[in-house]
């Protein structure tokens, strides 16, 4: 059996969920939280709705957060879940996202909300639906966990 979450880590996640409930990120809803914070790894599922006036208008995407016991010092693993993976130059067809705050630029002061905000703005600012240039190669070789990939961050402003 996996070791339980440290209390401090579970409390932090709990606080974030409470804050997220009180102050939701526009276009993002919490679909399911962890049943219990006693497991070693915990999944939080969010639904992101494509905003009006953007190329994703009317679409719905599932986003999964998975934290380990070193959270928030270590970044969460954040992946889009099938069936609908946004067609975006920084999102691979296996759901992995190329976003610097999920890797090198992560800081313990960032939160689930902050990550959602970045992803929403990444979607909203996109002008053309397409996959990253190395998509086919990446999905054949990448591990299940995006954090095992050493990312070259594409220009975040695309």
């Amino acid at each position: 059996m996996a070791a339980p979450f440290p209390v401090s880590c579970a409390r932090r996640i709990q606080k974030e969920l409470t804050a997220l409930h009180a102050e939701p990120v526009p276009g993002v809803t919490l679909k399911s939280g962890p049943d219990t914070l006693a497991d070693k790894s915990t999944d939080i599922n969010m639904i992101i709705k494509g905003a009006e006036g953007t190329i994703y208008n009317g679409e719905e995407f599932n986003l999964r957060f998975r934290m380990n016991e070193r959270y928030p010092f270590e970044s969460p693993e954040v992946v889009f879940q099938p069936p609908n993976i946004p067609l975006h130059p920084h999102i691979y067809s296996n759901g992995h996202i190329c976003l610097s705050i999920l890797g090198n630029d992560w800081s313990p002061a960032l939160t689930i909300s902050a990550v959602c905000l970045s992803i929403v703005s990444m979607l909203s600012s996109c002008k053309e639906k397409k996959r990253p240039p190395d998509d086919q190669f990446y999905i054949r070789t990448a591990s299940m966990n995006p954090k095992a990939t050493r990312w070259m961050y594409h220009d975040d402003n695309v």
């Binding site: 313990p108 190395d134 070259m152």
Partner: protein, 418 residues
């Protein structure tokens, strides 16, 4: 040295009377010229006032007080010129006629008591409140009365190691300068040399600000140097630093070395004194020091031998260098000296057909097994298996282990997992 058991409500005058009793015992009446007026009891840089209780003077268990005979001249320490030292956050009355300004209110006294923190390495292995004491610069003794300090700036200066003026009351010493020293408030003092390091970025959380990381309101806290200063509770700071150490993600700042940045990434938000990393505990602090030393060495142009790992400095700009143990190697690729200039390795397809490459002993085998200098910062990088996409933990440069240049789509398709 005289040991006395005194209840905390005892006044300074009563203490002096008791002292006189024991000092005068066995003396002739002529010698009994001492009286309470000639005695000064000196503690923490101040001559204590007669009508204060020891409690009010913040004297705790097992405190050593110094007794001195007042000087003849007008600057006797019992003279009513003593003013409360102006500590941050505490206001004082400047009137000379008021006698109750030595120690202000009990609340202020309590906040004075724990306004400063340090890390006690000798005994408590924890962040503890600090006691301030003044030691004579000349004789090292604590029988020193400091002149009133009225400017906050002066305090800042003294906390930074500046000297304080005053008078040393030790016999035969005419010292006029003292240094502020810090003692742990949490364990019983083991004498004058039992000191600790004051950590200025650990402060009382007077405004009840929530920790940037766990959201709890705790005190004391770490304050980063940004404006307004972002805070982290001590337990988060400890974990944060341990994580930075494990991932080699400390920030390099000229003049400071390897340090931690504010979790919000503020450009001016840093830990400005590396002694704060004492909170990592003894073992991890040693690791931190090793890390910081290596970082410093590389930053100042040092190289590690690719064969034996010996550190050395070669200030020439030659391709080839020789370590103190006589190993000659190429600084660009880390290979033991190849003929001619290093042309960084060509991709493997070409490698197979390139005569020159073969001659140069750049064989596939050595490529896969040796340590190479990072093309960004020259830190020695060891590939721990996995793909050819290597990230330098030190400068974050991403490069291709085979090409020794920036990692690119080309490398992904040709030899990602080669």
């Amino acid at each position: 040295m005289l040991e006395m058991q005194i209840p905390p409500s005892t006044t300074v005058r009563q203490l002096k009377d008791q002292l006189l009793l024991s000092m005068n015992a066995g003396l002739t009446s002529q010698e009994k010229d001492l009286n309470t007026k000639n005695l000064a009891i000196i503690f923490a840089g101040k001559a204590l006032q007669d009508d204060h209780s020891l409690q009010e003077c913040l004297i705790r268990d097992a405190t050593i007080l110094h007794v001195a005979r007042s000087r003849e001249d007008s600057s006797t320490p019992t003279h009513d010129t003593q003013q409360e030292s102006l500590l941050p956050g505490v206001s004082t009355s400047k009137s000379d006629t008021e006698s109750d300004h030595l120690i202000v209110t009990r609340e202020q006294a309590a906040s004075l008591q724990c306004a400063f923190y340090g890390y006690c390495r000798e005994s408590c292995s924890d962040v503890t409140a600090v006691l301030l004491r003044f030691a004579c610069d000349k004789c090292g003794g604590f029988v020193f009365v400091v002149d009133p300090i009225t400017e906050l700036d002066t305090w800042e200066d003294i906390l930074d190691g500046g000297k304080v003026h005053g008078v040393c009351y030790k016999d035969d010493c005419d010292g006029t300068d003292a240094n502020l020293i810090f003692k742990c408030a949490a364990h019983q003092s083991r004498g004058q040399s039992d000191r600790m390091h004051y950590l200025r970025q650990i402060k009382l959380n007077l405004m009840d600000i929530a920790c940037t990381t766990c959201g709890d309101v705790k005190t004391p806290v770490i304050t980063f140097s940004c404006d307004p200063s972002h805070i982290m509770c001590l337990s988060c700071f400890q974990q944060y630093c341990a994580h930075l150490l494990a991932e080699r993600r400390f920030t390099w700042v000229a003049n400071l070395g390897s340090t931690a940045r504010c979790p919000f990434g503020c450009a001016d938000g840093l830990i400005v004194d590396p002694h704060h990393f004492y909170v990592l505990g003894r073992r991890l602090y040693e690791n931190y020091k090793d890390f910081a030393a290596e970082e410093c060495f590389l930053r100042s142009g040092g190289t590690y031998c690719s064969t034996c790992g010996a550190p050395f400095v070669d200030e020439s700009s030659n391709f080839f260098t020789t370590c103190p143990n006589g190993h000659r190697f190429c600084r660009k690729c880390g290979d033991i000296a190849h003929a001619g200039e290093c042309d960084a390795l060509p991709p493997p397809e070409q490698l197979a057909v390139s005569e020159k490459a073969r001659e140069n002993a750049h064989s596939r085998q050595t490529i896969l097994s040796t340590t190479k200098p990072c093309p960004g910062c020259a830190a020695p990088i060891e590939r721990n298996g996995g793909c050819m996409h290597v990230i330098c933990a030190r400068c974050k440069k991403e490069f291709c282990w085979i090409c020794q240049t920036d990692w690119g789509i080309d490398c992904m398709s040709r030899h990602w997992f080669a």
